[in-house]
């Protein structure tokens, strides 16, 4: 019996012939008042206990911001006016998503592996909540990818991971300035012949700090005081400008 369990345990353990050891240039991004985007260097090495296997080694790196539910609306012409008609909820759309690969993404991972691990931008954009009267749901998720892609919030970076001697790899991911706070999951996949052979996951902590943190917390925890403070600033600024102008004129 004991021997049987031991065999099962051994079988359940994956054969780790190649493993990822990785690091980030920073695992914390602080959003300050003058935050203007950030570039993260992701680097690492492949650890092996056996000689290098045959075939090309590919590395795919993804960075994913917190998921949100978004509503994508489509305008239609009704009575001569362009107004929002159909709307589709996309349940788990990442607020930011970047995928960098060492080759063309379609060649480095198979369709099945891509789907299983939600690697490409298209697969990372989550489940679509379909209203019964909307047939072409795909065009709504494509629109989301297109609009966020133009804002650099979704990036598909092909041939962007540098792999040296089948062992060392590195890439740079540019985080835009309009980041949402949260934990940015960073995944690194090793692929051979389209199949994922190893993966590694870490996180980048994106946080507001200083004045940004203070104002955000105040607005959520003490909204009345925050509102009154905003009004006090407004009144003071209005009075101040008037007083200054009176001084200038006299």
């Amino acid at each position: 019996m004991l021997r049987l369990i031991l065999i099962f345990v051994l079988l359940a353990l994956p054969a780790h012939s190649e493993e990822v050891v990785a690091g980030l240039s920073q695992n914390r991004v602080s959003i300050t008042a003058n935050f203007d985007g950030s570039e993260i260097l992701i680097f690492g090495a492949v650890k092996r206990e056996a000689p290098v296997p045959e075939g090309r080694l590919d590395v795919i790196i993804t960075v994913e911001g917190p998921e949100q539910t978004v509503t994508v609306r489509r305008k239609e012409r009704i009575l001569g006016l362009w107004i929002n008609k159909d709307a589709v909820d996309i349940v788990a759309a990442p607020s930011f998503y970047a995928v960098a690969s060492s080759g063309d993404l379609a060649e480095t991972v198979s369709l099945v592996a891509d789907l299983e691990n939600a690697i490409s931008v298209h697969n990372a954009v989550g489940v679509v909540n379909l209203p019964p009267d909307v047939r072409d749901s795909a065009s709504f998720s494509q629109a989301l990818i297109r609009i966020r892609g133009e804002a650099d919030l979704y990036q598909q970076l092909e041939n962007a991971v540098e792999v040296t001697d089948d062992t060392l790899f590195q890439t740079r991911i540019a985080l835009p300035s309009n980041l949402v706070e949260g934990d940015y999951a960073t995944r690194i996949f090793l692929a051979r012949g389209g199949e994922i052979i190893a993966d590694y996951e870490t996180g980048i902590d994106v946080r507001k700090v200083g004045l940004e943190r203070f104002l955000f917390n105040l607005s959520r925890q003490r909204p009345l005081i925050y509102g009154l403070l905003s009004l006090a600033i407004a009144i003071a600024a209005g009075w101040g400008a008037s007083a200054v102008f009176r001084l200038i004129r006299t």
Binding site: I31, T32, A33, N34, F35, D36, G37, Q68, T69, V70, T71, V72, R73, R74, K75, E76, R77, G80, L81, W82, I83, N84, D89, F140, A143, L144, R146, I147, R148, S177, N178, L179, V180, E181, K208, L211, E212, R213, L215, F216, S219, R220, P223, L224, Y226, G227, L228, L229, S230, L231, I233, A234, I235, A237, G238, W239, G240, A241, S242, F245
Partner: protein, 306 residues
């Protein structure tokens, strides 16, 4: 210089915001409108999320109106009694407006309603004012005096009369109360101070002299928008203080300059300029509704969000 806005969660150029605030401030000081009907669409355009733009704009209008009203106080062109009556109506209207807004939001299409009401109100008021001031200018050019607006109409037949000394009026409190409620509703739904409706209503409906209209309108706008700001801050958490500060620094300075420019312009000229601006914004909004947009899709927070 880029600045990250803590509530809007976007990064924008600080000088752009200062400039926008200043520009709208000049107009607000000249015409006694809060400038919200210009600023709110401008903020959408530079990428501020609409809920944040609407709420923050209310806060900024408080500052520019306060600064403007001080300039008018010195010239004694504020009718406090009339302002108080309008304000009483305005606060009731703002509260009603929020209720209506939420009811419409649950149906969907609140976006379309806001746009359509902008187009209709701006269009009607803009063209009425434009025609009226053109006629006034033509008449004064011809050498005849402009007709006095103190006509006796149904407004004078209502009960509850009150003397408004600064405006030189002796009328019922009911019309100003109704105007106040109406403008309050509009300001909550459209995210504006409502000066562009209030100013013409005071001139044409209540028969107030143009000289006191601007100061009085600014006076009551302060209170209605302050109330709106607090409602947004406590229910939707969408007032961005950093955005407001930048806009209002530009805005209060602009409002002071605008109030001084206004002194040198004739009432008819002021009105025709305001009419032109109102019609311009109306035309832009109508254009957006009628012409096929380049991007048919838009991304919004889910209904459960903000």
């Amino acid at each position: 210089m880029q600045i990250y806005l803590p509530i809007a969660e976007v990064s924008v150029n600080a000088f752009l915001l200062l400039g926008l605030g200043g520009l709208v401030g000049v107009l607000s000081g000249m015409f006694g409108v809060g400038g919200g009907f210009l600023m709110t669409p401008l903020l959408f355009m530079i990428g501020i999320p609409p809920p944040v733009a609407v709420a923050t704009e209310a806060n900024q209008i408080v500052a520019s109106s306060f600064s403007g009203v001080l300039a008018h106080l010195k010239r004694k062109t504020v009718d406090f009694r009339m302002g108080g009556v309008l304000m009483a109506g305005g606060l009731v209207g703002a509260a009603l407006g929020v209720v209506i807004f939420n009811a419409l939001k649950s149906i969907g299409q609140v976006d379309l309603l806001i746009r359509l009401s902008y187009v209709v109100f701006l269009g009607v008021i803009g063209s009425l004012m434009f025609v009226e001031s053109l006629n006034a200018i033509r008449k004064s050019r011809a050498g005849r005096a402009a007709p006095k607006r103190h006509k006796h109409n149904w407004v004078h037949a209502l009960p509850g009369k009150m003397r408004f000394r600064t405006s030189g009026l002796y009328i019922s409190v009911i019309p100003p109360l109704i105007v106040g409620v109406f403008v309050g509703i509009l300001s909550a739904i459209m995210g504006v101070g409502g000066g562009f409706v209030m100013v013409p209503a005071m001139i044409y409906l209540l028969g107030m002299p143009t000289k006191v209209v601007v100061g009085t309108s600014l006076f009551q706008i302060i209170f209605v928008t302050a109330f709106t700001t607090l409602l947004h801050a406590t229910t939707n958490f969408t007032v961005d203080m950093a955005l407001a500060v930048l806009l209002l620094i530009g805005g209060v300075i602009g409002a002071q300059i605008g109030a001084r420019i206004g002194v040198y312009l004739k009432a008819e000229q002021l009105r025709i300029l305001l009419a032109g601006m109102v019609m311009l914004v109306c035309g832009k909004l109508a254009f957006d509704l009628l012409v096929q947009p380049s991007e048919l899709y838009s991304i919004g927070a889910s209904a459960g969000g903000h």
